[in-house]
């Protein structure tokens, strides 16, 4: 573990910018989002987590897959430099590993390139993931439901812990270790620094609310598929896509061609099961016609289907949807309701 004095951190950031295309949290009015940054000064400081999740760095909301012109196809080229992301929270780092299960590998056959998404892989595989430990989790944070904790950086390349007068940088992967070896103006972390980091970790852990056990939720959800619980939960849902679009793990998309004559482009665009056209069929029939059908799909994908398919819940407890839902439909309450519902 190394130590960088607070006043020297901009030097570290500038180093990252010369080696990588660097993304970091940037303040824009009242919201904070990950943006490509050109200067260390533009990084937001007083944020707990970004309003938008970082998924759009690797899975943009509208990604041109290729262009075509009279039968000639040109693949969209990725940036020459690899990506680095500074300031990710543990919940978001985990969400990227979940998305990687979908886009990066195939469950049954991880090596089979047919099931690998090149657009995701060329950005994510080479990326340097730098996580910032959460010293002050919010009341809406519930990463501990999914085995996470505010200082757990095991899925990142580098874990950064801010201890007031300095940053401690803890390499968590070979990639992270190699990068930190190239960084100048650092010193090894002192014993008292490590002690302070441990104190902050314990404080952050104890500030989270108790874990709500989700054991058995897969079976419960399947059993309740046709029950009235979805009508009860969903009565107030207005079926907008705010939850899905700020979610770090929702990853459904639509593919569309935009063009004129023989020239155009094929674009991958975020989509969500909350919208009626998501399942509208050419015949005019919609198998998920009602609000409750669409809402059920979203929660079952989170807590049932993904677990069945990949062995993880498709939720990292970041709490963004809890904050933005315009009708305060709180996903934590949905899980509790499903677990206690008597049909």
């Amino acid at each position: 573990m190394i130590r960088i004095k607070k006043e020297n951190i901009s030097g570290f950031i500038e180093g990252l910018m010369s080696d990588y295309v660097l993304f970091a949290p940037v303040k824009d009015g009242e919201t904070v989002s990950f943006r490509k940054i050109e200067s260390a000064d533009s990084i937001a400081e007083d944020y707990m987590n970004t309003d938008k999740s970082p998924k759009d760095i690797f899975f943009p909301p509208a990604e041109v897959l290729f262009s075509f012109d009279s039968g000639e196809i040109t693949k969209n080229e990725c940036s020459e430099k690899p990506f680095a992301v500074w300031g990710l929270r543990g919940c978001d780092v985990k969400s990227l590993t979940l998305l990687n299960m979908v886009f990066g590998t195939a469950r049954q056959n991880p090596e089979d390139e047919m099931f690998q998404d090149p657009y995701w892989k060329e950005k994510y595989d080479n990326a340097l993931i730098i996580q910032t430990a959460c010293n002050d989790p919010r009341s809406t944070c519930f990463c501990n439901w999914f085995g996470g904790s505010p200082h757990d950086g095991e899925k990142a390349d580098i874990l950064v812990i801010y201890i007031g007068d300095a940053y401690l940088l803890d390499p968590k992967s070979d990639k992270g270790r190699k990068y930190l070896e190239t960084v100048k103006n650092t010193e090894p972390a002192a014993k008292k620094d490590i002690k302070e980091a441990e104190r902050l970790r314990a404080e952050a852990d104890s500030s989270l609310s108790a874990v709500f056990e989700l054991d058995g939720i897969v079976g419960r959800m399947s059993g309740l598929f046709n029950s009235g619980v979805w009508e009860e939960i969903g009565a107030k849902c207005v079926n907008c896509g705010a939850c899905a679009f700020i979610c770090p793990t929702c990853h459904c998309f639509d593919v569309q061609d935009e063009g004129k004559g023989k020239k155009g482009k094929r674009i991958r665009i975020w989509d969500t099961c909350m919208f009626p056209v998501f399942t509208a069929e050419a015949s005019g029939h919609n198998p998920r016609e009602l609000s409750k059908d669409r809402l059920r799909q979203r929660f079952m994908h989170k807590y049932s289907y993904f677990m069945e398919n990949y062995g993880e819940h498709l939720c990292t407890g970041c709490g963004r949807c809890v904050v933005v839902c315009p009708v305060n439909l709180d996903i934590r309450e949905v899980a509790k309701k499903v677990m206690s519902y008597q049909s």
């Binding site: 944020y47 509208a62 107030k236 207005v238 705010a242 315009p326």
Partner: protein
């Protein structure tokens, strides 16, 4: 007041006058209330009303995918002034019948914009919110602030002249009558005085934040097309990306589609997860409609919305002749 509204809802249900009451309950977060559907007087103690009750509940009548709009007959609904105007508009547009709804007015002092509260707390998390008259107290881990309610109000509430319902069956307390004063639209003055290029730039700034989640559209009781123009895909009418050209088209068309139908409740702006100032354009268009057609949306059950009506004495200068 809370007791009165709970009693009113309970009585309507017990007397069989309604099958269901739509109101607000305490939410899971300090700054949030949540819509609630009460079907028995035992549940009426969930009901609340305060400055966190920003949802325009009329929206539940007009979304056709909702059970409530499909099979409930007699519904009671709590309304602020703006919400009652939405109901009136929806009734004039034949989305529901006046006799099918029992309107319960509540005295409104405006509702908060949670982002303004966040700004006051300077990024620190607000863990408690309480209101005493015109003063709000917000508390977090190591801070406590007293703030005048006005500084936290939603932009729509700052210019609201009809705070209480004018069309209602029951009112909790005493409704304040509309003074007849005309809206000065001072909140959009700065925007209106910009040059066309600057206005375009401002709209670019605002709409480039859009992530196409349609929260603005989906919380709006005036937006109830069976298939919204953005969802028309056979053939597709507009581009679906969050690029500025596509988002701008979405917002401008939605805006024009609610011209003369927007009651300026501000629910869209409060619902936006990206903090887009949707009211610049909504209020500007509402002002134009008012000045040109003298129409105050949702205030008269016998009057058609401005864009659905034609009167011989209307300004017809634009017709070439």
């Amino acid at each position: 007041m809370v007791n009165e509204l709970r009693e009113a809802a309970g009585k309507l249900l017990d007397d069989g006058k309604v099958d269901l009451v739509i109101g607000w309950a305490k939410g899971s977060l300090p700054l949030a209330s949540t819509p609630v559907f009460i079907s028995s007087s035992d549940e009426a103690d969930q009901l609340v009303f305060d400055s966190t009750c920003g949802n325009n509940l009329t929206v539940y009548f007009t979304k056709d995918n909702k059970k409530i709009s499909r099979d409930r007959k007699k519904v009671g609904i709590f309304v602020k002034g703006c919400d009652s105007r939405s109901l009136v508009l929806n009734i004039t547009e034949k989305q529901l019948k006046r006799e099918d709804v029992t309107i319960i007015g509540v005295p409104c002092s405006g509702v908060i914009d949670t982002r303004k509260v966040r700004r006051k707390a300077e990024g620190r998390e607000v863990l408690e919110y309480s209101q005493d008259g015109d003063t709000v107290t917000i508390k977090g881990k190591e801070f406590e602030l007293s703030v005048p309610l006005e500084e936290l109000l939603s932009n729509a509430c700052l210019s609201c002249l009809r705070k209480d319902a004018e069309e209602y069956d029951l009112f909790i307390g005493e409704p304040r009558k509309f003074s007849g004063e005309s809206d000065p639209y001072s909140d959009i003055e700065e925007y209106e005085n910009l040059s066309a290029d600057e206005r375009w730039e401002r709209m670019n700034e605002e709409y480039s934040k859009c992530i196409r989640c349609y929260a603005c559209r989906n919380v709006c009781p005036s937006c109830y097309c069976n298939v919204c123009f953005v969802d028309q895909n056979d053939p597709q009418w507009i581009g679906k990306t969050p690029e500025i050209t596509d988002t701008m088209i979405f917002h401008i068309i939605r805006n024009l589609h609610i011209a003369g139908r927007c009651v300026e409740c501000g629910a869209c702006e409060r619902a936006c997860p990206m903090d887009i100032r949707l009211l610049y354009l909504n209020r500007k268009v509402a002002k134009e409609v008012r000045e040109r057609f003298g129409s105050d949306t949702g205030t008269d059950l016998d009057q058609k919305p401005a864009m659905a009506d034609f009167r011989e004495d209307e300004n017809q200068d634009f017709i070439m002749g």
